[in-house]
Symmetry: C2
Subunit: 362 residues, 2 copies
Amino acid sequence: MSDDRRPTLATVAARAAVSRQTVSNALNAPHLVHPETLERVLGAVAELGYRPHGAARQLRTRRSGVVGLRLEPTADGISGAVLDRFLHSVTEQAQLRGYRVMLFTAADDDAEIDQYGELVDVLGVDAFVLTSTHHGDPRTRWLSASDVPFVTFGRPWATTSADDRDPADVADHAWVDVDGAVGTRAAVEHLLDLGHRRIAFIGWPSGSDVGDDRRRGWERAMRAAGATGDEELDRLSISVVDGVGTGVLAAERLLSRAQPTAFVCASDSLALGALSASRTLAAAASGDQPAVVGFDDTPVARAVGLSSVAQPLTEAAGRAFELLLAQLTDQHRAGGEPADRAVLLNPRLVVRDSSAHRRPPT
Amino acid sequence: MSDDRRPTLATVAARAAVSRQTVSNALNAPHLVHPETLERVLGAVAELGYRPHGAARQLRTRRSGVVGLRLEPTADGISGAVLDRFLHSVTEQAQLRGYRVMLFTAADDDAEIDQYGELVDVLGVDAFVLTSTHHGDPRTRWLSASDVPFVTFGRPWATTSADDRDPADVADHAWVDVDGAVGTRAAVEHLLDLGHRRIAFIGWPSGSDVGDDRRRGWERAMRAAGATGDEELDRLSISVVDGVGTGVLAAERLLSRAQPTAFVCASDSLALGALSASRTLAAAASGDQPAVVGFDDTPVARAVGLSSVAQPLTEAAGRAFELLLAQLTDQHRAGGEPADRAVLLNPRLVVRDSSAHRRPPT
């Protein structure tokens, strides 16, 4: 249904036979309005179901109902799709709870911090959702110090050691994250079940928290399956910058030096490259095509039949919003149990043609 | 640099040795404040460079500096990437001009119209950017009738006939669009240059304005190249719902009934299907692999080497914002030359491996 008859300040003024300024005064500075007039105006407001303008409400409540989120520049368009899908989910989850999402862009962390000040002071933004957190992130420090509610999609990596996985210990602010190591581990176990043993890993250069986490899951699963030597693990893994072309080169190098029968990759971009190299190999040698598993279950993976690890983005957005609301609606921010402010979700392996076939015993 | 020292209402109050309420009154209801106090507070405001809170500014200027944009649910994740990239561009172009983008979701046009009322009345949104316009769109009628500034990414199809391409005639509101027919025509001409003659088209069911436009470009280029009969054009074209799987089936059917040597497709999803069918055919018959051109230059196209027609999304977002600003900053909305409110941009063909090779003469 359309909203043509939604009452405005003007229709209230007409009904009460006063000026628009008088209606505005009645709502925002009632002491300026004669009591009889005030009664007539408020009667018209109630009768017509008029909702006062947000700005006036905002001055009274000090709440805008608006959450800020920085749009990341999309790097290759494949991995960027994950953050775009998270944005869709955050917007839907916010709206379900009566909030809106305001976007902004910033070239780096410092520029993002400058934006926070502007968004809070000038536009009255209530809270922020942060993405792409990293080691020593200055943004969370600034927001904590400024007492601005926020939640991060991504854990506070600085305090997460490889073997310390208790969320309660790392909850110096509210965060939601997906356990990448669980995802790559599930990929390796799926490939082991199919009969693969030489399972290679194509990842990012070490120092990227997310990338190190994804490599860790592969390494642990391989050790659990009997790959004992560091040398063997080094031979079966390689680090390259993200991309399809680098994925091709990485897969070719691994195929020639370690003859893997399967690849687990830190991203769908790398996996797409590995898939292409695997097809070329199978066509040339008419041998079995190596299996490939990617990460993030992007549209590309669905389109080309690539198995991939899917992040539960709708759930992540919903949980992030719950953590924000807890801060916005009570004094939960400073206090509360740390464990209540940290949510680590498990991803889910989606199996497609690229890794669906059982290996013949060798 | 960080913003730790940005002045707030509290620092102004401390400097002027008054309460925060007095500072607020000095800014928003100066008649309530003693003249000497007022002078001291405004002196502190100027000295500290304090910017009053957006909500107060908003009440005075009736401008929030916020533009609303509806997030579309992503259908298959491939075509949806185009609107996500447009969103990135709109956010960047808005911010360059001192505006912000507020997101919302809606299940259909009527729900979107309901949201307009809420966003304007309650949140003070200044203007809207609309996407996915269509024949008889009720949203533009509502916004025009409500005198809310807006611009559409997509032309007002209702008044565009096949042969009437003068933008001045169809500018009953401000719009920016990309000429899809120019894109598919460029794809056909590229394939003709390579020696192809039997160039098929895989499109969407007729009735979709964008889809009909893309088919039109193929048809005109084919007629210009000597494909005279309607029967021949019918045999060389097919309509299916968008998707990779439907693209495979459509290409197989066309290959068996018309032996095309090339495909022009209305989307990258369909083109990806045609590419897969073409590879299968070439592998089975060890003949030449048909050439394929998609539409929208999505990340999938870049990843798999698919030629595709690229929309100039950054330029479209920038031009859309200029059209909005013209409405927000002067009385341009009702008056002005219609041609100034309509912008039709040309897309650009990006050639990749899927159509890069010259045909041998047949």
